[in-house]
């Protein structure tokens, strides 16, 4: 990865300005053009080196008053891990009742981020 050249146009999301930033990665050096502030520059560098995202999803619930339990990652996870994590989550099924904030998966896909429930679901009976 380190030797190849990577060029990306990024829209900064940090403030309403939404700067269009050009990032060029070449042999370990990164050139950022178009960022109007230092934070924007950092964001752009992160977006080209290791973009991260919070993942929110649902998993199946057995015997709940609702069929699905919403969950999230406790930390941002690498963007490229999103589908790997989703795939793991879609295999799961938990049993009601579930409380909000329950850890469902510890360090999902070795990301160091846990999966926790974002609401409580009572059992059907």
């Amino acid at each position: 990865m380190g030797i190849e050249t990577k060029n990306k146009a990024i829209t900064c999301i940090l403030c309403p300005l939404g700067c269009k930033i050009d990032v060029l990665k070449k042999k370990g050096t990164i050139i950022v053009k178009g960022a109007k502030c230092a934070k924007g520059k950092d964001y752009a560098i992160k977006e080209i080196t290791n973009p991260v995202r919070v993942l929110t999803a649902t998993i199946r619930v057995r015997n709940g008053i609702l069929p699905l339990l919403p969950v999230k990652t406790t930390l941002s996870i690498p963007k490229k891990q999103v589908f790997t994590c989703l795939k793991k989550l879609y295999q799961l099924e938990v049993k009601a009742p579930v409380k909000m904030g329950t850890v469902i998966v510890k360090s999902i896909a070795n990301t160091n981020s846990d999966i926790i429930s974002t609401r409580g679901i009572d059992s059907k009976h």
Binding site: I10, T11, C12, I13, C15, P16, L17, G18, R53, V54, T56, A57, T58, R60, L66, P67, L68, P70, K72, K79, V82, L86, M100, T118, R119, G120
Partner: protein, 420 residues
């Protein structure tokens, strides 16, 4: 016959904010009437994050944000009735509501807080021609089906409208295995937040097609495709610009309309620009004991503001019950590039706390100041690098500015360039 000090119609974020605040202010009997099966409003289907950044300084998901307030309300002793619909409000203080366990209920109350939220604009409302197949959903309905009912409406999707719900649903659909073929936006710029454009559309290479709209709908039974066409500056379809996109589902994210049928029937005056009641800084409507807050007054972009509006409404109801009246009213006029503003008037009380205005512009502009003018003279201004219709502007004005404004009967809010 039921009795209450405050009846709150709607148990979403606005109603919950109002209810908690009302109890905190020491109001005894606070009752929420909620039409859905649980409190929380639309938040439980908004499983994504991005809520609470302003109010809690935390990045919460919709269900978490809702749960915090529901738990708080329970602790404070807020009462609520679920699956309950308000049929009418009589003499401004008698509410007729119905549910299956209590039957018809007449509720006598000192004050009412309207917090019914908004509904989504439909295909019919924007009058798209074509057939009427199954497979056309508003983004919010699809969101509920997918996130709460475990039902996927379709696999190959076009989304009309780049509002936040549309963008969020584009990502959601991608994550649950559907293919989003395009997000089509009539305006030359996206309607939703930049964060959502990036993280929901760009992240997954979903084309966001600006200055286009859906011009026709095909399919006799289920949707088979749509045509999209370029829209010129006057809003007309450019000839021969149309192209066909096969799809089985069309999601509409083309705007939200405050739900004010009840307000209207009660005789509350509505603002044609916000589609919500005319309110003062305590969210007091034109009927003194009826208050309104949240998306019923105008469509907010952040739930945090909705909560704040609910709290203000509760304070207003509290002041009203204490018998505190206002002496004078100053009207807020909309000047250059202002689409809507809430509150539309300020009432002067002896003790005045800072007032927050929530406003939206008509079109994007860079390097501007948002100013308040009294008889042409600036009494307040705030610089903004950029203003966009999708992002609300919040202006907080101090006691001093309020006092200046109170010397007249109306002030004007407008957007000006830096140099002006």
């Amino acid at each position: 016959m039921y009795k209450a000090n405050v009846v709150i119609i709607g148990g979403g974020p606005a109603g919950l904010g109002a209810a908690c605040k009302a109890k905190e202010l020491g109001i005894e009997k606070v009752l929420i009437l909620e039409r859905d099966r649980e409190l929380g409003g639309i938040l439980f289907q908004c499983i994504h994050n991005g809520f609470g950044l302003q109010y809690f300084n935390e990045d919460l998901t919709g269900p978490e944000y809702a749960t915090r307030f529901i738990q708080k309300a329970q602790k404070l002793g807020v009462e609520s009735k679920l699956n309950t619909i308000v049929l009418e409000i009589n003499n401004n203080k008698k509410i007729l509501a119905v549910n299956s366990s209590d039957g018809l209920m007449e509720i006598n109350t000192e004050t009412i807080i309207l917090a019914m939220g908004c509904r989504e604009r439909t295909r019919g409302a924007i009058n798209i021609p074509g057939t009427r197949p199954a497979g056309i959903f508003t983004a919010g309905t699809a969101q509920r089906l997918i996130n709460m009912e475990n039902l996927l409406p379709g696999k190959s999707v076009v989304i009309l409208g780049s509002g936040d719900i549309g963008l969020i649903m584009a990502r959601r659909l991608t994550w649950v295995g559907a293919k989003v073929k395009a997000i089509v936006e009539m305006l030359p710029y996206p309607s939703g937040l930049t964060r959502n454009v990036v993280q929901c559309a760009e992240d997954y290479d979903i084309p966001l097609i600006l200055s286009h709209t859906v011009t026709n709908i095909y399919g006799k039974k289920r949707l088979t495709g749509v045509t999209i066409g370029k829209v010129d500056e006057e809003g007309n379809i450019v000839r021969k610009s149309e192209k066909y996109i096969p799809c089985d589902t069309l999601l509409l994210s083309v705007g939200l309309i405050p739900e004010n049928e009840l307000s209207k029937n009660t005789g509350i005056k509505l603002d044609a620009d916000t589609n919500g009641p005319f309110v003062n800084q305590y969210m007091q409507t034109t009927i003194p004991n009826i208050f309104a807050c949240g998306n019923v007054t105008q469509v907010y972009d952040l739930v945090d503001y909705v909560t704040e509006a609910g709290e203000l409404a509760a304070e207003g109801a509290h002041l009203y019950m204490k018998g505190l009246t206002n002496s004078k009213t100053v009207l807020i006029k909309k000047g250059r590039n202002i689409r809507q503003i809430v509150p539309q008037r300020i009432s002067l009380y002896e003790r005045q706390k800072p007032i927050r205005f929530y406003l939206r512009v008509q079109y994007p502009e860079e390097k501007v100041k948002v100013g308040i003018y009294k008889e042409g003279k600036e009494i307040f201004s705030k610089k903004q690098l950029i203003v966009r219709p999708s992002e609300m502007i919040v202006l907080e004005i101090s006691d001093e500015v309020i006092r200046k404004a109170s010397e007249t009967n109306e002030v004007t809010v407008k957007i000006n360039g830096y140099r002006n």
